[in-house]
């Protein structure tokens, strides 16, 4: 039996196990929406902006580990997806974005709502397709899901011309995919793993530095085993948070620009770095030429291009992080030699790290009049007992959350790490809530970022996605303000957001619930009330405007050259007038 392209599209999605589709209609994709009208197995969620649709698919993917799917129309619908796609690309998130396209005979004539979206997204997708024949739809869609999720994951875009959706063809769903030009390496090289195990046994000052690859390959259990078996401390990148329990005694906290002093000092002074699914991003290494001067580096990554891109690697291991860790553990367990000199050195190393932890722990100055943002985050952790999915926007809200919320489990942390997309957190939280309707999902936001996709309150209310948004409201673009204060002589330019809007009223206007907290004593009751209410809630926490993210590695410095929060005298304390 022949089916229309739109019917083939929906049938193929079902075969791929798609349960939720974040889609915004428009002229050329009408045939798809017409099929979706009768569709029972796929839940269609209508966002209020195509960018948000892609972030939702991204949040869905990060929280479940499955491919997230978004759909937009041609032209502006398609171009609106670009930020979402680039966000997923930088963080290696498996999503498939479908865009409509003008009919094939009209491509290239500047037709109404035509955009060369395949050309536009070529540098920010893992791969993309323009479908030219209806009969090609099933295999292209299957390939798209395969490419998005296998190897190093990433976004794939499929452009669907209107005539391809309208024409009919036989529906033949291919059971397997085989691409002669795409065969990622999953199993690590035996010899390299042996060499790595040997280096680990001989190291006097080792450290594990793990990133988002631990999350994408579902390797947190193996990582924990490795750390516990070898008693090597672990630091995580921003993307890796949740990949190792935040309350584990071997956990040093995040490293890098706003990492902990202990993590950065441990990396800087180590003699062996075991890098696992991390890519030595500039926010992690600081000044590259002074990065960990005495360390040998083992680098485990599925993507060979990540290895030796910015730092020299002594023992590269290309492979799936989880599979390599399993083999590495096996190797280590078979070796089991003990060496007193090494053991003694390790003890000394552990003590040294304890001292660093004591010297400059993460801290903030609690205040009983003004709400400190870190206090709000600690309270959210305390009240949820860490059993929540947390997304953030980008800026101070993101860094404070990374520092002060103890992520205990993988896939509970959604943040735009690579691209740093303001406006990501709220739609991503909605995507996660769509995947887990009964879980508690928080978006920890700033008053700047939340306004970049605040229209999604409508989606939240109508789709009953009861996300709790905690706005750390300092009436300004806090991270930019912090840099202007520290590095631009306090010339505050273009950062003042005023006390606009009234977030409680905004929430109410959309049919959500709004709360405002001005005093620290109001924080806990507001969070508890927000959790109780079965509706989306916007919490407006009026925080200390001058609060900064510390410690900090200034741009261009090495990661051990950190600046810290200095204890202020009571009288000097910033008064915040509200």
């Amino acid at each position: 039996m022949k089916l229309s392209g739109a019917e083939i599209f929906v049938e193929t999605l079902k075969k791929e196990g798609v349960k939720v589709l974040f889609g915004y209609p428009g002229g050329v994709v009408l045939p798809i929406f017409d099929v979706l009208y009768h569709e029972k197995e796929i839940r269609l969620i209508l966002p209020r902006h195509e960018q948000a649709a892609v972030h939702m698919a991204d949040g869905y993917a990060r929280s479940t580990g499955n491919v997230g799917v978004a759909l937009a129309t041609s032209g502006p619908g398609a171009t609106n997806t670009v930020t979402g796609i680039a966000t997923a690309f930088m963080d290696s998130i498996p999503i498939v974005v479908f865009t409509g396209q003008v009919p094939t005979p009209m491509i290239g004539v500047d037709a109404f709502q035509e955009a060369d979206i395949v050309g536009i997204t070529r540098p920010c997708t893992k791969y993309n397709y323009l479908v030219k024949n209806t009969a090609d739809l099933p295999y292209i869609i299957k390939e798209a899901f395969y490419i998005a999720s296998k190897g190093r994951p990433g976004p794939v875009l499929v452009d669907l011309p209107r005539d391809v959706l309208a024409n009919k063809a036989d529906f033949v769903y291919p059971e397997t995919v085989s691409l002669r030009s795409y065969n990622p390496t999953y199993i690590g090289n035996r010899w390299q793993i042996k060499k790595a195990a040997d280096a680990i046994l001989k190291a006097k000052k080792p450290v594990i530095y793990a990133g988002g690859g631990v999350i994408s390959s579902n390797a947190s259990q193996e990582l924990k085993e490795l750390a516990e078996f070898t008693e090597i401390p672990v630091t995580l990148t921003l993307m890796g948070l949740g990949g190792f329990p935040g309350d584990h005694p071997l956990f040093l906290g995040m490293l890098g620009m706003h990492g902990t002093y202990a993590a950065n000092m441990t990396i800087h002074n180590s003699d062996l770095i075991i890098a696992i699914g991390a890519r030595f991003d500039d926010r992690v290494t600081g000044r590259v030429k002074d990065f960990a001067p005495n360390a040998k580096i083992i680098h485990i990554d599925i993507d060979p291009t990540s290895i030796r891109k910015s730092v020299h690697v002594d023992i590269p291991i290309v492979g799936d992080v989880r599979l390599v860790l399993i083999d590495l553990l096996k190797e280590l367990k078979s070796m089991k030699e003990t060496n007193e000199v090494i053991e003694e050195a390790r003890k000394h190393w552990a003590k040294q790290i304890k001292d660093w932890q004591k010297e400059h722990p993460l801290w903030y100055e609690y205040d009983d009049e003004v709400i400190k943002p870190q206090f709000v985050i600690e309270k959210i952790f305390e009240i949820t007992k860490g059993d929540a999915i947390i997304s953030t926007e980008v800026g101070q809200n993101q860094m404070w959350t990374a520092q002060f919320y103890k992520f205990l489990k993988p896939r509970t942390w959604l943040t735009s790490g690579g691209l740093g997309t303001m406006g990501y957190g709220f739609p991503a939280a909605l995507g996660a809530q769509a995947a887990f309707p009964n879980k508690l999902v928080f978006d920890i936001a700033g008053d700047g970022s939340i306004q970049m996709n605040i229209q999604e309150l409508a989606t939240a209310v109508i789709e009953r996605l009861n996300v709790k948004v905690a706005i750390l409201n300092n009436s300004c673009l806090g991270m930019v303000r912090q840099w202007q204060e520290l590095f631009y002589g306090e010339r505050y330019s273009g950062i003042d957001l005023g006390e606009v809007p009234d977030f409680v009223k905004v929430a109410e206007a959309y049919g959500a619930v709004g709360f405002k907290a001005v005093k620290p004593s109001e924080v806990e009751p507001v969070i508890k009330e927000a959790i109780k209410i079965k509706k989306p809630v916007l919490m407006d926490f009026r925080i200390d405007r001058m609060e900064k993210v510390f410690p900090m590695v200034p741009a261009g410095a090495a990661i051990h050259e950190m600046i810290f929060l200095e204890k202020k005298k009571k009288t000097e304390k910033m008064k915040v007038v509200r």
């Binding site: 070529r122 002669r180 795409y182 891109k309």
Partner: protein
């Protein structure tokens, strides 16, 4: 250092743009590039001349290998290969210069492929040194137009097999 990369790629539309985009997006150099289908019409062969230090070349090869449409990447630089380029040179040839142009062409085993009362068009094949050499000799006669194909390369077969 200059490297010659030979790629086997899927013969699909957009592949050239992906490869070119990779080079421009990551700040790598392309000095010359040529593409054509192979004996298997679903596969094209690309020869890219690029330059950079070892780290850059390592990144280029890895990034190319990572691209979905690229089947194989070989770096010919430390191998034994045959390299050829074609140049078409339209040179002014009047009076005594007509004889001189033909003489130069003969020395380089080049062919005259078109002629008019005042010009010759000369086709020459070789590596870039040979092409530079003939161009330099023809220049005094007056080169009106010069078109070069960019190099293509193939590995020499092992003679001991």
């Amino acid at each position: 250092m200059t490297h010659i990369l030979s790629l086997l790629v899927e013969n699909k539309f957009g592949v050239l743009s992906r490869v070119a985009g990779l080079f421009s997006g990551r700040g790598f150099n392309i000095e010359a590039l040529s593409v054509a289908p192979t004996q298997d019409p679903s596969v094209s062969q690309m020869t890219i001349v690029t330059s950079g230090d070892d780290r850059v070349i390592e990144q280029i090869t890895k990034q190319l290998n990572k691209m979905i449409d690229i089947i194989k990447v070989s770096d010919f630089s430390d191998k034994d290969y045959v390299l050829r380029e074609v140049a078409l040179i339209k040179v002014s040839a009047k009076g005594a210069d007509r004889e001189e142009a033909l003489r130069i062409a003969t020395i380089f085993r080049a062919k005259v492929v078109d002629s008019s009362p005042t010009t010759y068009t000369i086709e020459v094949t070789g590596d870039d040194k040979k092409i530079e050499a003939i161009v330099n000799l023809l220049r005094p006669l007056g080169i009106k137009e010069l078109v070069r194909s960019g190099p293509i390369a193939i590995l020499r077969e092992d003679k001991n097999k």
